[in-house]
Amino acid sequence: MTSQTATTNRSKLVVESSITDKKKARGKVKGTIIGPVIALVIFLSLWQSIPIVFDIKPFILPKPTDVLQAAMGDWHLLWPAIQITVTESIIGFVISAIVGIGISILLASSRILEVSLYPYAVILQTIPVVAIAPIIVIWFGSGFNSIVIISFLIGFFPVVSNTLMGLNSVDKNMGDLFTLYNASKWQTMWKLRIPAAMPYMMSGLKISCTLAIVGAITGEFIAGIGGGRGGLGYAITVAAVQLKTPYLFACAIAGAIFGIGFYLLVSSISRFMLKSWHESAMKVEK
């Protein structure tokens, strides 16, 4: 009888401790979510109250509610603009990924090519693409094509420099192993250098995806309407000219939300790609 109560007591204890553990875990999650939420609420209320307190006109500094109102009121304009910018950035990004990785592999497979061309790749990277954007408009006409090309050009170099660095970072012993088994140049490329470069490639793509959006919006500033309808960059220029500041804010925030979303998407793709193989991506497990 007594022993029975003892065991039930013990099991109760175990249950209780597991509950407190769960509570603790939940508390931790709550803490990490609640903090930023509170900060956001404080920020929004400050933003909301400052224009009221100092009597600032909405075309100088709109309140959050003005921005929300503008976004909902002009949603029929905003939504197509978002769609256009998203399309341009994604196409620009995909092209910079494919061309960037392709060119890197080509450069890395020939020592002569790499030595003679890599310095120029570095120099080209430092050219502000915005500065040559008008030339691209002259060559490819204003609109969609030029914007995609500008987005591609901005996103392209991080992919090249990261991938090249990765392809050349192969462990010496692994290289020796491949030499020992008389691996051909292409075998070494496909079975050793490219897999070893994957983490570098992925971080290049993560940088490039946000830059592609910057490229698309900048492209729209310069190359204007894409395919007869304007993207976010175009909408921002128009809103600025017409002093529709709340709508301008709405456009900028929409661009930011897309940027975050796109970055998270590319990050999770990269984590998925590296999950099965790489230590660098697997730090969480240990």
Binding site: D171, N173, D176, L177, F178, L180, Y181, N182, S276, E279
Partner: protein
């Protein structure tokens, strides 16, 4: 006996001087016979790894000649699977599973897919890792990784197995069990093994012959025939004598260096 045995590796007056001017090896003469288990024993910087790399065709002698089966090692690795190399760290490709790592040598040589898997299964069974085919290297312990690395070296059925301090980074228990397994493999596969180590006990436990090296410049200090039957008893007095002998000639080579 000498007439039947075949020479596997020969060093003839081998010098190795690096571009920096460091003399890694000086006047190395050594002949290694088929079926021997020879250890290069020496302090770090005595050029024992350099010698091993030359046998694998991964480095060239500045002067003199290294031959394996009477051929230049570089030609030999181009045309055959006769030489295998086990590196100090397991040197596995982290993005490949155990099975895929082991079949790599066969894959690079372009052998048939089905036979590849058969061979891989055989060698993985030999090192006791048949149940870890689908694991990734990061999921294995240091000892297990080294076992996979040895299996990979054996997969191509080499006649000469080169090992560069393969057990140096392992703990004592793991090292001893791997040493025993290695001796089993040596007996079963009839390979010749060149083993680099700085551990006297390891050299005496494993080798049929010990080449003691001295440092700076690296040269052969003495050659000891270990005349003990396998499996060896680590606490046996004969064993201890060999350990003393090897230690003394190692010390001797160090002292001589200090006098100079």
């Amino acid at each position: 006996m000498g007439a039947i045995q075949k020479e596997v590796v020969s060093f003839k007056g081998v010098d190795k001087i690096y571009n920096t001017g460091t003399v890694a090896l000086s006047q190395l003469d050594l002949s290694i016979q088929e079926g021997e288990f020879i250890s290069f024993l020496g302090p770090s910087g005595c050029g024992k790894s350099t010698a091993l790399r030359m046998v694998a065709g991964l480095g060239e002698a500045t002067k003199g000649k290294v031959e394996v089966f009477g051929q230049n090692p570089k030609d030999l690795i181009r045309n055959s699977n006769d030489i295998a190399y086990v590196f100090q760290d397991s040197n596995l490709l982290p993005w490949r599973t155990v099975l895929d790592n082991v079949v790599l040598p066969l894959e690079l040589r372009g052998s048939n897919k089905n036979t590849r898997k058969e061979i891989a299964m055989r060698v993985l069974e030999m090192v006791g890792l048949k149940d870890y085919l689908k694991s990734y290297p990061r999921q294995l312990s240091g000892g297990m990784k080294m076992r996979v690395s040895i299996a990979r070296a054996l997969a191509a059925k080499p006649k000469l197995l080169l090992m560069d301090e393969p057990f140096a980074a392992l703990d004592e228990m793991t090292r001893q069990s791997l040493q025993m397994d290695l001796l089993d493999i040596w007996k079963k596969e009839h390979t010749t093994i060149l083993f680099v180590t700085h551990n006297v006990y390891e050299a005496v436990y494993l080798s049929s012959k010990i080449a003691v090296m001295s440092a700076r410049p690296g040269r052969l200090a003495s050659l000891i025939d270990v005349d003990l039957s396998y499996p060896r008893d680590r606490v046996n007095s004969a064993f201890t004598e060999y350990v003393d002998l090897a230690s003394r000639s190692l010390e001797h080579s160090l002292n001589r260096k200090e006098l100079v």
